[in-house]
């Protein structure tokens, strides 16, 4: 019953969205502006209807209503409540429903906030959002229908994929990802609105969506870090990034979005790069749809791939429409966006932002080409090839290091122009940071070129960014006689966008150090132990205490207890295990991670004797990995600072 209610809501949503999509442009074309609020009403109604459908699905999942197809697919009476709720996004149909809801929410919110603005920008933006919503509603009625009726009603279900109920991060990563991914539709819609309404020479569409873009970027950054963390804690190989196509699909739009965050500032100050920014924003959205297509169509095999079916063809049609319309619109307005401004000097922040965009775009292009190349090579040569980690690492390391360096130069250089004295004063001192961190890298044992270089460039940029805080706070102290704390907080509050950005930079530095150290210095030991035997790794000793088993509601668990020893005293305990789910013939290895300040001790249970006599354990020492997750948090903090409303107008 709840399934029929939800499906009816979706059918009504289909009609309402189609209506709103048509009435807006018709109202503008006929000059009947009083009809425009009807299209807004369609957006609000759509949000209401999709909320009903989503709540209905959650209700069906929690009450184990196996007459609903999606519940029969991923539900199970044995699954704990939290994992039952989050199985909403665990399989294809539910994830499309969630996507539709997030999109409807964003659309309703952004239109509500801006609906009183005169002109055609907001109406056309609403039209664009309705068009995308319409596509997803079509999917929900058609190939991705989660509300199909199952008869006879099964008494129980298989539960979610074991990998998806093994860790709490499964509750966090997908919602963050959708909030970020889908959020990129907002700046896209306003860019389309600007193009269709003829307001594309003005910057309004960027100004209005600045916080939305920053928020989506923040969510996407958080989602990528959470995804890395999840795969690290769950998959048992001790890594956090494999350049899998679906990882790349989330990373590619992140790169163009980051580029846009920077080049938008050049547009606001100099009214330049307008065509480029339009391309970046529209491109980011197209890339998010491309990424969704790649992971749901089955054309590229990936660890993340959802089950395929006809949905791939729907996405192919959608991406064709989006791509063609984007090319037409952007090319059509391109001759109205000729550069009017000028640069005062090549030695300026503007130039650095251009270089930043160059490397970010080239990086994006590298990852995109690498991800699609197996398909292209098969089309051209008829041979299947792989493009994996060695390729991506080799090609991206130079660009990453260049970007790290630029992150130090950009904040240091002023806008407009820097005199030669300024260049010397601002750009040379941070070299001290490069030397110190380079030396630290060598002292830690890092010997590969890019590892040391990454540390050095991070050191340079770290000092440069810290200097900006120092110089600003010192100036306030001199001017107002404030204490350091007050000066610092007032400095940030006076220009949240700028200093929020520097805080995010710091987060990136932590992530960079974590990645550089762990990929260069990771050590592992594997051994088969009986009780009482130990493994030594990275100056730590882990002794096997026992092999045990226990029954949980939804799974059986076999685990080992390893005691961490300091001499003869037990200082801690680490318990990797294997989870046996009834639906899967292979157990899910469930490693345990013990975090220390300068690294993680990672334990995975590889094998065990049925009688519990011995166990094969793999221990990995992962230097500085916790800094990656910490850095992710700092990046988000920076984004939050940047989004926070100013009490007065800011000059970034």
């Amino acid at each position: 019953m709840i399934g029929t209610l939800a499906r009816d809501a979706l059918l009504v949503s289909l009609a309402v969205t189609a209506f709103g999509l048509v009435i807006g442009p018709v109202a503008i074309a006929r000059g009947k502006r009083e009809w425009i609020p009807l299209s807004y009403a369609a957006i609000y109604t759509n949000f209401l209807l999709l909320t009903i459908a989503t709540l209905a699905m959650i209700f069906a999942l929690v009450t184990h209503d196996f007459s609903v197809a999606y519940v029969a697919q991923v539900g199970s009476r044995a699954t704990p409540l939290l994992y039952t709720v989050i199985s909403l996004w665990g399989a294809l149909e539910g994830s499309i429903l969630f996507w539709g809801w997030v999109l409807a929410m964003y659309a309703a919110a952004v239109v509500w906030i801006n609906h009183e603005r005169p002109g055609n920008l907001v109406p056309y933006a609403g039209t664009a959002l309705l068009a995308v919503s319409l596509f997803f509603t079509i999917l929900l009625i058609g190939p991705a229908n989660p509300f199909g009726v199952v008869y006879p009603v099964p008494p129980d279900g298989p539960g979610p994929n074991p990998l998806l109920q093994n860790h709490i991060l499964m509750a966090i990563h997908p919602p963050l990802l959708y909030l970020g991914y889908v959020g990129m539709a907002v700046p896209y819609a306003f860019a389309v609105g600007a193009m269709l309404s003829g307001e594309v020479e003005r910057d309004d569409w960027i100004r209005i969506t600045r916080r939305w873009t920053l928020a989506s970027w923040g969510f996407l950054s958080a989602a990528i870090i959470a995804g890395m963390w999840w795969s690290y804690e769950v998959l048992g190989w001790g890594g956090y990034w494999a350049w899998d196509p679906v990882e790349n699909a989330s990373f590619i739009p992140w790169l163009t979005a980051t580029a846009f965050l920077h080049s938008a500032m050049v547009q606001e100050r100099r009214q330049m790069l307008r065509l480029w920014n339009l391309n970046l924003v529209v491109g980011t959205f197209v890339l998010t749809i491309l990424g969704t297509f790649l992971t749901r169509s089955g054309i590229i095999s990936s660890v993340h791939a959802f089950t395929t079916g006809t949905i791939g063809y729907f996405f192919l049609a959608f991406i064709a429409v989006v791509l063609v319309s984007a090319l037409i619109m952007v090319a059509g307005v391109s001759d109205r966006l000729k550069t009017v401004g000028h640069f005062d000097s090549p030695a300026s922040r503007e130039t650095i932002f251009l270089l930043n965009n160059l490397f970010l775009t080239a990086f994006m292009f590298t990852v995109l080409t690498g991800t699609l190349f197996p398909l292209v090579a098969e089309a051209v040569r008829g041979v299947k090839v792989s493009v994996g980690e060695p390729f991506f690492n080799r090609m991206s390391l130079p660009m990453i290091v260049a970007l790290l360096f630029l992150m130090g130069v950009g904040p240091a250089l002023p806008w407009k122009a820097a005199s030669p004295a300024e260049v010397k004063n601002k750009l040379f001192p941070p070299a001290a940071g490069a030397l110190v961190l380079g030396a630290i890298a060598l002292a830690m044992g890092i010997r590969n070129f890019y590892g040391v270089l990454a540390f050095a460039c991070t050191g340079y940029a770290l000092v440069a960014n810290l200097r900006e805080f120092y110089i600003g706070a010192a100036a306030r102290r001199n001017a107002h006689g404030e204490g350091w704390g007050t000066a610092l907080s007032r400095l940030v509050a006076g220009n949240r966008r700028r200093y929020g950005g520097y805080v995010s930079h710091m987060g990136v530095f932590l992530v960079a150090l974590g990645i550089a150290a762990s990929s260069s210095l990771r050590t592992e030991r594997e051994a088969t132990l009986v009780a009482g035997q130990s493994i030594n790794i990275a100056g730590r000793t882990a002794r096997l205490k026992n092999v045990w088993g226990r029954e949980e509601k939804q799974r059986s668990v076999i685990g080992v207890t390893l005691e961490l020893m300091n001499g003869e005293t037990v200082t801690g305990r680490i318990e990797p295990r294997m989870n046996f789910y009834p639906t899967s013939q292979q157990p899910v290895p469930t490693p345990e991670v013990k975090s220390f300040l300068f690294g993680d001790l990672y334990a995975n249970l590889q094998a065990f004797q049925p009688q519990g006599k011995n166990a094969t354990v793999k221990l990995i020492w992962e230097p500085l990995v916790p800094w990656i997750w910490l850095g992710g948090g700092v990046v988000i903090l920076g984004a939050l600072i940047g989004i926070w409303p100013n009490r007065r107008r800011s000059v970034a």
Binding site: G298, I299, I300, L316, L323, A331
Partner: protein
């Protein structure tokens, strides 16, 4: 609105969409093997499961590929933990029996499993008519470019891999391939793929 530029720009979408449309017709998980048409990798493996008369061999017997030159060999890689192997088990046993006395050899090769598990699985499944061999460290499996189980290799009378079948194999495929390989002529210039009968 510059329609000329818009039209030209929209053309760029065509190769992209065509590529994706073509990609939808392909299966990324289907990796073609380079082995068919080439000399079959040699092996020397021991029997751990004897099979049943008339195809029975003793446990511990050594089976060399080289000694089967001039005859058709069907090599089926399987494992006790492999669900799909159950689908083809009875078929293989029955078909193998029908070729007893002919110049065809059926062998199972255990992949990533303990012989004890294999033997137990066979008795649970009601017996296997032909012997199964153990492959320590999966060296032969890797030699044959194995991706998973079950995979069945058909070797022709010239010692070349004629055909590789991924997934459970049906009686029709077995009979068709084995018959055509038996009929193919032996000789240095014999075609590597199953030839027409009567050669």
């Amino acid at each position: 609105m510059n329609w000329k530029r818009a039209a030209i720009a929209s053309l760029f979408a065509i190769p992209v969409i065509l590529l994706f449309a073509w990609g939808m017709t392909k299966d990324p998980k289907d990796i073609p093997s380079p082995l068919p048409g080439r000399e079959a990798p040699t092996f020397t493996l021991n029997v751990f499961s004897p099979g049943q008369p008339p195809l029975q061999q003793s446990i511990g017997d050594t089976v060399k590929l080289a000694s089967m030159r001039g005859e058709v060999v069907v090599l089926n890689f399987w494992a006790s933990w492999c669900l799909a192997c159950r689908d083809e088990h009875t078929t293989l046993s029955e078909v193998a029996r029908t070729y007893a006395g002919k110049p065809v050899h059926f062998y199972g090769v255990l992949y990533n499993d303990e012989p004890a598990n294999g033997t137990r699985w066979i008795s649970e499944m009601g017996g296997q008519s032909y012997p199964s061999l153990q492959d320590p460290k999966a060296r032969t499996a890797i030699d044959y470019g194995l991706y998973g189980v079950p995979e069945t290799f058909f070797l022709d009378r010239n010692g070349r891999v004629a055909y590789k079948h991924t997934g459970p194999v049906s009686a029709e495929v077995l009979a068709r391939v084995v018959d055509s390989l038996m009929a193919a002529p032996v000789g240095p210039v014999a075609p590597a793929v199953p030839a027409k009968a009567g050669g």
